[in-house]
């Protein structure tokens, strides 16, 4: 299985990505997708947009390492990770994870694993644009805990 990893400024189409992953395959019995979407508020204040900065070469390498880790833990038949960067308006998609397997357990678990690691290990940084100015989003300890549970069990 060759995973698809893309970092892009442009929007993506979830249905197209599922179709690309499953086209011509009859061994895949389960596809799970997670889409992260830009909300219109941050800490109770309305936001105009998110600006996503990233470290391109490392982001690609780091996501690739985590897809490999997921493949060593679950019998995946396909995986797609797309992460956008640049300016993203409320309501627009930010990130997509698609996992495919013969049964749903592996697809669900691998998608959750990948998202937990993307949140805490992939070199992306969100800056919010509000009327009061621009500010960097602070990392959440809840996200660290979510990622940690995969190593502590």
């Amino acid at each position: 299985m060759i995973p698809t990893i893309r970092l892009q400024r442009e929007r993506f189409d979830v249905a197209d990505e599922i179709a690309a992953l499953t086209r011509g395959r009859t061994d895949i019995g389960a596809v799970v997708t997670f889409t992260g979407i830009c909300r219109a508020d941050e800490g109770g204040e309305p936001i105009a947009a998110l600006n996503l900065e990233h470290y391109p070469e490392m982001a690609e390498a780091e996501i690739g390492r985590h897809v490999d880790m997921a493949r060593s833990r679950w019998p995946l038949l396909g995986a797609t990770v797309i992460h956008r960067y640049g300016r993203i308006a409320p309501g627009e998609d930010i990130v997509l994870v698609v996992t495919a397997s013969s049964h749903r357990e592996a697809a669900f678990a691998a998608a959750e694993f990948l998202m937990d690691y993307l949140k805490t290990r992939a070199p992306f940084w969100k800056q919010v644009e509000k009327e009061s100015g621009k500010s960097w989003v602070e990392a959440k300890t809840a996200d660290d805990k979510a990622a940690d549970r995969w190593t502590s069990s």
């Binding site: 992260g36 996503l52 900065e53 990233h54 470290y55 070469e57 490392m58 982001a59 390498a61 780091e62 992460h83 930010i94 990130v95 998202m115 993307l118 949140k119 805490t120 290990r121 992939a122 070199p123 992306f124 940084w125 969100k126 800056q127 960097w136 989003v137 602070e138 990392a139 996200d143």
Partner: protein
């Protein structure tokens, strides 16, 4: 060695990247950070709380005690907030 900065570390330092040849007695990432912090106001501000700043050597996360010998690129950035 290429040094890269991201997000608020980049803003505080005032540049995205630069070439630096650290003094030979600097062995670890932590020592390099302490040395960088003395280079000026922006650097001091960026590294005022070194425990918060994350590091990567050649595109891989590393702890503060990692050795910098042989590194071609070292990056400093805040905790990640992607996804």
């Amino acid at each position: 060695m290429k040094v890269r900065y991201f997000a608020w570390v980049r803003e505080r330092v005032g540049k995205a990247e630069e070439e630096i040849d650290p003094p030979p007695d600097i062995a670890t990432v932590g020592e390099f950070v302490a040395w960088l912090a003395q280079r000026g106001e922006g650097y001091a501000h960026a590294f005022e709380n070194p425990k918060v700043v994350r590091s990567a050597i050649d595109k891989t996360h590393v702890p503060a005690n990692a050795r910098i010998k042989g590194a071609s690129e070292i990056a400093f950035f805040p905790p990640m907030t992607g996804g």
